[in-house]
Structures are given as structure tokens and as C-alpha cells.
């Protein structure tokens, strides 16, 4: 009996509170600390520019961000390349509206422990065969999708067949820690995270170094649901886009971290979608 009462109370507490405010999220990929503090500032900025209430909800994973977007729990999201493609496929009418300046030419660095003797090369070295290898998170563009694509392209083999062991560290910082400690021979990491940790003195170059850089590809972007205009009126998407593009306060931009935002469209991410299809991450 008690349990039924509790279930009812739980339901009562969860009545449908349809948010009248614009809610956004940002996938935590490069820096997950103090998310609320950092992104509430973005919410305040957008709120001032759009003249409506804007809220931020923190998420932990790519899949959760996509689900929140799909369920209209958030209407605007800062996605990675792959998560953005997935989200827009699930929400017809949604569109990519802005990306970071750096996101036009994003890169993945392959890094190796010094004991492997691997050196930095222009071509992907054959010597990585039969090593142990770690990706980042399973749903990451820079930590999974692009490295896997280049591995398959170069060697015509799935990572499982090429390497002695393949792991998923779950996070770029952990990839660096695992390769630096020698637990894995080789890893693939988001170049922005590598550069940040290098600057922070967390990387010992005598233990781990970059052995190959992928060609550039488009990555992070802001995507918005198409149906926002039904709610906030025609031209709302353009208004949001303008607000994002005109964000110039270095303190705000540091949250992403990007030097500025530029226009983006769904077509810019066609290469990401094609790659994801080619390696079977999207049906």
C-alpha cells in the first residue's frame, strides 16, 4: 500500500511542467568542471540578447544530450560533430546554426608512449599494428569517429583486427593519462584537450608524444530545433544565430573554449555523417 502511495506522490511531483523558457545544453567534452557556473553566464547572455528566459541544463554524455534535444527538454545544444548529426537526424527540421572558428579545421592527435619508439610522421605509421590502443568516449567525434575512420581507411581493417587490444577510456584527459602511464601504447585524443593539458604542464614529453595528426574535419556546433519558431515566432532561429555569432566577451567564449563563433549549416557536417555511416555508427 505504502508503495502505491509513494508511486502516486512521485507522479504528482512529476506533473508536466512544460518549460516556457528556452533551455540549452552543452556536451561536456573538453572541460567538465564548474559547468553550471560557466554556462549560466551563457544563459544570462542569451537571455539578455533574446529577451526571454534562458536556462542551462548540464548533461554528462553525448547520448544524454541527444536524448534531451530529441525530447524537447532542450531546444538548443552545443554538440560534437557526431552527436549533432545524430540529434538532427532524430529531430526533423532541426539545424546547425553556428560553430566555433576552430571547429572548421578540427583535428585528432594520435599519441604514443615513448617505450613504443614511435615517432611523429607525416604518414600514419605501419608500426602501430599490434599495439594496444585506446579511443576516448564511444560517442566522441574526435576520440572515436575520426580516428576509427582513418584507421580503417589506412589499413583496411577494423581497429579490433589491427590492434592487440582496443579500449575506450571514456574521456580525452584519461586517454592522455593512460598512454602517458604506458597502460596503453597508443591513443587518439582531441587536439584542443592535448594542447590545454600541455599548457597546464600535465604532459611529460619524454613519456608521451604526438605521432600523427589527422587531416582537419568539422566538429562542434550549435544546433537548434526547427519547431522553436512555432513557440517564439518567426525569425527566432536567426535571432539566436545572431546572438551566438556576436558573442565576443572572451570570458564567455572561454567556456567552450573558442575564439569566436561563425555561421554553420547542416551541409557542413555531411562529411561527418558520411564517415559515421561508412563505419557503421549510424544505420
Amino acid at each position: 500500500m505504502k508503495s502505491i502511495t509513494f508511486a502516486l506522490v512521485a507522479l504528482l511531483f512529476s506533473v508536466n511542467i512544460q518549460a516556457q523558457s528556452l533551455t540549452f545544453t552543452a556536451i561536456p567534452d573538453q572541460d567538465e568542471t564548474l559547468l553550471k557556473t560557466r554556462f549560466n553566464k551563457i544563459a544570462t547572455y542569451l537571455s539578455e540578447r533574446l529577451d526571454i528566459e534562458v536556462k542551462y541544463v548540464p548533461v554528462k554524455s553525448y547520448a544524454a544530450a541527444v536524448t534531451a534535444f530529441r525530447n524537447n527538454q532542450v531546444q538548443l545544444a552545443w554538440f560534437g560533430g557526431l552527436s549533432g548529426v545524430r540529434a538532427r537526424l532524430l529531430v526533423p527540421g532541426s539545424m546547425a546554426i553556428a560553430q566555433g572558428y576552430e571547429d572548421q579545421f578540427f583535428q585528432t592527435y594520435f599519441i604514443a608512449h615513448s617505450s613504443t619508439g614511435l615517432e611523429s610522421t607525416d604518414q600514419f605509421s605501419d608500426n602501430i599494428k599490434q599495439r594496444t590502443f585506446t579511443f576516448g568516449s564511444k560517442g566522441s567525434t574526435s576520440g572515436r569517429l575520426m580516428p576509427e575512420f582513418h584507421i580503417r581507411k589506412q589499413f583496411n581493417k577494423a581497429p579490433d583486427q589491427l590492434f592487440r587490444r582496443v579500449g575506450f577510456s571514456g574521456d580525452h584527459s584519461r586517454t592522455i593519462a593512460l598512454v602517458q602511464s604506458g597502460a596503453y601504447d597508443v591513443g587518439a585524443v582531441n587536439f584542443k584537450v592535448w594542447e590545454r593539458e600541455l599548457a597546464a604542464g600535465k604532459i611529460d614529453n619524454s613519456k608521451v608524444k604526438v605521432i600523427w595528426k589527422t587531416p582537419t574535419y568539422p566538429d562542434y556546433q550549435w544546433s537548434i530545433r526547427g519547431d522553436v519558431e512555432q513557440h517564439w515566432g518567426e525569425g527566432f532561429v536567426a535571432k539566436v544565430q545572431k546572438a551566438l555569432l556576436e558573442m565576443s566577451d572572451p570570458d564567455l567564449l572561454a567556456s567552450f573554449p573558442r575564439q569566436s563563433f561563425i555561421k554553420a549549416s547542416n551541409d557542413d557536417f555531411q562529411p561527418v555523417e558520411d564517415v559515421a555511416r561508412s563505419i557503421g555508427l549510424i544505420d
Binding site: 505504502k2 508503495s3 509513494f6 511531483f13 568542471t33 548533461v59 547520448a63 536524448t67 585506446t134 544505420d283
Partner: protein
């Protein structure tokens, strides 16, 4: 005297039974060791371990935003989830001998809390309801099983002596009253597990301690991570001080008040989830005739079975059996630390602290540390699972041993351990261990970081790829695996245990 004599021959036979069971497990585990991948990779972890060590001695309680909220949310999810599960589980326990109930319970508890949460995330979003259900559902299955077993094992003579055995008052006075102390202590233990689960739900985004712990640990902010871990240890270590039955309504009310109240209950999402998301993808594609679709479906099933499920089941079994035997060894080593027969009160305090640490560190973090040291293979996972589960079983049998009375002239030290306590706690030890098996199976789910392809690894990948049809298919296989383990361990227990009960009666 007559009773004693009657029991004796049988207790001989079960001592042999226990020995046989244990030896079989050791043998099978040894066989699994041959099949398992145990490569040690020479690594150089000292830089990272140094940073972790530095973090542990310089905890920073002010680095986390909204720390108090996270702590309170953790407790609120756990209290509400466990309370609901306790009630539902109790009702299910009463129906446990009805056909299908046992299987139903085994199936719902086969799925890791994180996966329940990921399923509900699709319907209710990142909301309070998702968190509560993710704890309440698997825990109901666990409560049902344990409560049913407690009822089954408790003394049946009072009820048998009553003229009307079917009445409600007969049940409450002659059965419930006897089992109540066991319910109570189990419920407290389950609440401790609930707090752990609640914290871990933060890993996928619910606003609990795990949310920040995961971040801090992943990003190498070890001072912040240490502070969060210490906070977590303190909450668990002091559980018996602040948890009072009388205060439960107050805690629950506070819990409902604290938790964020913005669930989006949408029939549309539910319909989409049941009607589209979990339908195997070949059936979703329109066009093509019926036979083609069936062929495509068979291909889909075969691909999943052949490429993921077979390997997943194999690795899950191998890893879980080795970790099970490892846990048993750790437990037998550690339990004297909290036993009054070996240590005085201050010594036991330290022992308790050590066990709280081992059983409270989330396996994922323990695995990350063991991986740094040993490199990626099954070895760090075995170590992490053995330490974690060994500490839990060690604690339970330590408590059990404290209830045993010794003769005034009993031996001391190693002799006491080997010739008196070990034989006396062994039936209970085996029972706990067998029960822990399915828990270990559930926990192997989250070891993808090592690239060990357990069933859980593939389920996690399916969720990450938003392929809920595959996730559900693999979850069903996990449930089937758990059903087999449940019947196997029940069969093993019935061999050992029949007599444990009679021995209790004869005392």
C-alpha cells in the same frame, strides 16, 4: 541430545558438500584463468599515482559547485528508491513461489541501475522519476529474493503450531515477527547500496555526487575527487547513526522536497519508445515484402548474437567466476578485521574504515587505478571486482561472526580462525558468495574502459549509439543469463543449506 545425534550424520555430509562446492569453484575458476586474458603490461604509472596520492592528502571541499545539493540529492534518490523497492519487494516476496514471480524478479535485477536509468532517460528525460525508478526497479527484484529467502529460512515451528495458518494475523505474529530483525538489518545494508547506486547514477547526468566525482576523476582534479570520496565514505560509515526508522517519514518528505521537480511525462515519448525505438531496425524500415523483412530480422539477430552476444556472454562468465573466487578469498582474509573475536573495539574501527573504503569506491574508479598499474586486460577488472565485493562479503560475515558465542576456553589467533570460526561461518559465507555472483555479473557491465567485451560493454555501446533495439535485445540476453545463474546458485545453496537450518534448530 536425541536431536543432536539425529543431525550429526547429515551435517557431515554437507560439510563434504561445502568442500566439494568450494573445490569445484576453485577448479572452474582455475580453468577460467587459463581462458582469461591476464597479460600484465609493464607500465610507468607513478606520475599519475603521485598526483592521485597528492590529491588524497590535499582534499578540496570547495572546488565543487553545488556540493550540498549533490549530497542531498544522492541521499534523496537512495531513500525514496529503496523505500519503494522495500515495499514492492516485500509484496513480491510473499508471492515468490507463484510461477513466474521468481523469474520476473531475477530479470529485473539482472539489469544494472545505469542501464535502467538509460532506458527511462528516453521516456522521462533526465528527471527525478528516472533516478527513482532506476533504483526502485532492480532493488525490488533484489528485496523480493532476499526477503523470500529470509522467510523461507526462518523458523517455521511457530506457524506450524497454530491452528489457522493462513490468516493474516498468523502471518504477522508467527512469521513476520520472527523474520523482522533480519528484514531490518538487510534493509539498512540495502540502503547503503542504494546510496552507492544513487551516487553512480550521477555518472550519466543525474545531479548526485557521482556527477562531480566522475568529472573530477576523469579530468585529474584529484583534490576535488578526494573530497567527494571522503564525503561519500563519511555518509556511508555513519549510516547506522543517522538512519532511524522513526525519522524515515521526515527524510522521505525532505527527499521529495529537495529533488528537482521537472519531469516531462509525455505519452508521446512513451509511445515512440515502445513503438519505434525498441523495434528491431529491419522491421522499422518500411517497404520490402514480408519475407524480406523476416530474413533481414533473422540476419539482424544473428549478427548481434554472433558478433556481440556470444563473446559477451563468454567474457561475462569467465570474468565473473574468477572475480567471484577472488572476492571469496579477499572476504576470508578481511573479515577478521571487523570480528570481535580477533580485534578490540579500536582495532575493529580501523577495520571498518578500511572495508568502507573498499566497498564504497565506485568500481569504475578502482578499475581506472588498477589499470594504470597493471595495464589493460582482465586482471585489473578482476582485482577491482574482488576487492570491492570481497570487502562487502567480508563485512557481512564479520558481522555474522560477531553473533557467534565462543567457549571460554576456545583457542586464539590462527587456530581459532581455522578450526572454529571458519567452519562455523562457512555456510553463511558460501550463501553470501553465491548471492554475490549475480551482482558481480551485473557489475562487469561497466568495465568497457578496459576493452573487455562483456555483455555490458555491448549494451553500453548500443545506448551510446542510440540503438535501443540492440540495447534491449542484449539486455534480454543478460536477463536470461541471470536466470540461469539464479537457478544454478539456488541449486548449489539447497545442497549446502538444508542443514544449516537444522543446525540452527539444534542449538
Amino acid at each position: 541430545m536425541a536431536v543432536h545425534n539425529a543431525v550429526k550424520p547429515q551435517s557431515y555430509s554437507t560439510a563434504a558438500g561445502m568442500k566439494r562446492t568450494s573445490l569445484w569453484f576453485l577448479l572452474i575458476a582455475a580453468l577460467c584463468l587459463l581462458l582469461a586474458d591476464l597479460e600484465v603490461i609493464r607500465a610507468d604509472p607513478w606520475m599519475e599515482l603521485g598526483r592521485i596520492g597528492l590529491g588524497l592528502i590535499t582534499p578540496n571541499f570547495f572546488a565543487t559547485e553545488a556540493l550540498l545539493d549533490a549530497l542531498l540529492n544522492t541521499l534523496a534518490f537512495a531513500l525514496i528508491g529503496v523505500t519503494i523497492a522495500n515495499c514492492v519487494g516485500f509484496l513480491l516476496a510473499l508471492l515468490f513461489n507463484k510461477p513466474g514471480v521468481r523469474q520476473f524478479c531475477a530479470s529485473i535485477r539482472a539489469v544494472h541501475e545505469l542501464f535502467w536509468a538509460l532506458l527511462f532517460l528516453q521516456i522521462f528525460g533526465l528527471s527525478t522519476l528516472t533516478g527513482i525508478l532506476a533504483i526502485a526497479i532492480p532493488y525490488s527484484g533484489i528485496f523480493a529474493k532476499v526477503y523470500a529467502e529470509i522467510l523461507e529460512e526462518s523458523d517455521h515451528r511457530p506457524i506450524n503450531s497454530l491452528p489457522k495458518q493462513q490468516s493474516l494475523s498468523a502471518f504477522f505474529y508467527a512469521r513476520f515477527a520472527i523474520a523482522y530483525p533480519h528484514f531490518r538489518s538487510y534493509c539498512l545494508y540495502r540502503l547503503e547500496c542504494g546510496i552507492r547506486s544513487s551516487a553512480i547514477l550521477g555518472f550519466i547526468g543525474l545531479p548526485t555526487l557521482g556527477f562531480h566525482l566522475d568529472t573530477a576523476f576523469k579530468q585529474g582534479n584529484y583534490s576535488e575527487a578526494a573530497a567527494l570520496l571522503y564525503l561519500f565514505f563519511i555518509v556511508i560509515a555513519t549510516l547506522r547513526q543517522w538512519m532511524r526508522l522513526k525519522l524515515l517519514p521526515v527524510y522521505l518528505a525532505a527527499g521529495f522536497y529537495i529533488l528537482p521537480q521537472s519531469t516531462l511525462i509525455s505519452l508521446e515519448h512513451l509511445k515512440r519508445f515502445l513503438g519505434e525505438d525498441i523495434i528491431p531496425s529491419p522491421l522499422r524500415q518500411s517497404g520490402g515484402d514480408f519475407t524480406e523483412q523476416i530474413l533481414a530480422l533473422m540476419d539482424w539477430c544473428w549478427q548481434l548474437l554472433y558478433l556481440q552476444a556470444f563473446e559477451g556472454v563468454f567474457n561475462t562468465i569467465v570474468l565473473s567466476i574468477i572475480a567471484l573466487v577472488g572476492s571469496g578469498m579477499v572476504a576470508l582474509l578481511l573479515f577478521p578485521l571487523v570480528s570481535r573475536h580477533f580485534f578490540s573495539r579500536p582495532g575493529r574501527g580501523l577495520g571498518h574504515a578500511l572495508l568502507v573504503v573498499f566497498r564504497s569506491i565506485p568500481e569504475l574508479i578502482l578499475t581506472f587505478i588498477t589499470t594504470l598499474i597493471l595495464g589493460p586486460s582482465m586482471l585489473p577488472a578482476i582485482l577491482a571486482l574482488s576487492l570491492h565485493n570481497g570487502a562487502i562479503i567480508g563485512y557481512l560475515i564479520g558481522q555474522h561472526s560477531n553473533g557467534l558465542q565462543l567457549r571460554a576456553d576456545s583457542s586464539r589467533g590462527l587456530n581459532l580462525y581455522s578450526y572454529e570460526l571458519l567452519p562455523r561461518i562457512y555456510p553463511q559465507f558460501l550463501a553470501f558468495l553465491l548471492y554475490r555472483w549475480e551482482v558481480i555479473v551485473r557489475e562487469t557491465a561497466i568495465l568497457g574502459v578496459l576493452g573487455i567485451h562483456t555483455l555490458g560493454f555491448y549494451i553500453d555501446s548500443a545506448f551510446e549509439d542510440l540503438r535501443f533495439d540492440r540495447a534491449l535485445f542484449l539486455i534480454l540476453i543478460t536477463a536470461a543469463l541471470n536466470l540461469s545463474i539464479d537457478s544454478l546458485s539456488r541449486w548449489l545453496r539447497s545442497r549446502i543449506h538444508r542443514v544449516n537450518f537444522e543446525r540452527v534448530n539444534s542449538c
